[in-house]
Amino acid sequence: MAGILVIAESVEGKVAPISGELIGAAKKLSGEGAGQVTALIAGDEALAQELIGKGADNAIAATNAGLASGTADAYLGAVESAVSQSGADIILLGQTSLGRDLGPALAFKYGSAVAMDCVDLKIEGGRLHATRSAYGGNARAVVGFKGSPAVATVKAKSFDAPEGVSGSGSVSTIDAGGESRVKVVGTSKAETTGIRLEDAPVVVSGGRGLGDPSAFEMLEQLAKMLRGATGASRAACDLGWYPPAQQVGLTGKTVSPNLYIAVAISGASQHMAGMAGSKNIVAINKDADANMVRVSKFAIIEDYRKVIPALIEEIKKLA
């Protein structure tokens, strides 16, 4: 196999963490016979040098100013140059705003194929294989690539960035750009009012099993004590019990707090898709067989009405 091209990205002038992870993934594939690791980044040579420091065999700085817009259209020319320069037959991107658009755009441009949001990659029988989650996390799919270049976007934190790298690779620049048919006229950061659900270190969520919209007051009180935010399942939002903006799940917000307390939520894939990345899950549910109980670290099998007020009191005592 002829090599791997990593499409790196920067955040505030530094190589983004996901890009280090992509180099980690590429080096693993390299060890399985996929060839050298070339990394491309929009920016100057200093930024490209940083990629060498993170383990890339070669790094290319794409200096065309048009790339700053971050549109897939603008990137196509630079990536094509890098592919022909490196001869790569695998392209890896992060599952980021850029990767989500550029990954498929590249695959369709080359008439090859793309797998999105991959959690594992391996070379088997001379072909790239990717493992990804499907059906809201209920299933895992392994897909194999035939066409070249094989394009895959990688889920954050699926691979470790290489450590203790000696960093001796060559850096080059390319100026290729592309006319973007999509013109960026403005960007804004997400506004924050109070603790954003997505940023909260603790999330307390309620589901249909609460049986009563007023129960959310209890959950809000618990969340406030833990300096967290309150969420709800789609079922609870559809019943009008809680604002849709606070919905956690496939059609709502994706959260990955340090502590996720699921109250009277069974754990259908619709909901799991939005919170499966939580570091520690606590389930409070009457049903010991509920999926949410199975995936949690701690669970109380009990009617939440009796547990939550007591839990609030106990946490007060510990504070």
């Binding site: 755009a105 797998a115 499907a134 502590l259 520690n280 669970a299 007591a310």
Partner: protein, 298 residues
Amino acid sequence: MLPCAGFAPPTHGHSPDGRCGRSGCAQEAVSRVNIIVCVKQIPDPETPAASFRVDEAAKKVIPAQGIAPVVNPYDPQATEAALRLNEADGGGHVTVLSLGPESARDAIKHALAMGADEGVLITGAEFDGIDNFQTARALAAAIQKVGEPDLILMGRAAADWDMGVVPTGVASILGIPVVTLAKAIEKSGNALKVERVLDDGFQTVEVSTPAVVSISNEFGEPRYPQLRQIMLAAKKTVQIWSATDLGIAEQMGAANRDLTLEALYVPKVESNVEIIEGDTPEEKARNLALKLRAAKLI
């Protein structure tokens, strides 16, 4: 009666056949705005995890008993976007496409009940096991057969495979631009202004039609079909097109697949749950608080 300003596209309500109700309007049968919405039927994502089964040999999901498939939860938002654009534009035509089994007619009917005008079901055994490139190829062929759309709208992804690559694929095959993850769209003539969702905020982009736009869940609540509309929808036509009708039967073959499904399985969740014991709910709550404190989680 108000005089018609006479410029295209109409800024007031020309009827769906393109005729203007206002006096002095020169735009008889002006070309109306055509929007195509693509929808997909998927297994219900609210299916309890315990009922989710996979046939590992066939690499297929075994439909959960008694749980009917549903329209992909992102797709009604695409239909909603089409209807809102047409309402703002004063008329227009919405065609709903779905590629899937015969039962996918229900996903089309849902969009028709929301207010879309007509439907097309792309179905047949040739489509079994197609990859995302072939899906995009089939939809692009159907879009070309429908006519010359101004706008093609889709949900951000199908919640079963959750790839979100078909919008880009269709745009690429048709040679038109794509904007993904829209939370708001404004259309003025053939100029589109789209607010899109980024990882850390929002971005506003401009693009000209025809274009493909995928709609994100941040777009807002889709309308709920009312009984009268559901009854009206029953009278709307749903055409059925096969791969042969679209002239793409050969392209759907297994030999043309660049992405092959090698395995599909339910991951084994190592359940390490610690059930917090106690004689009373209060004691359980106390024990949980102590555990959380010991684990430095509170």
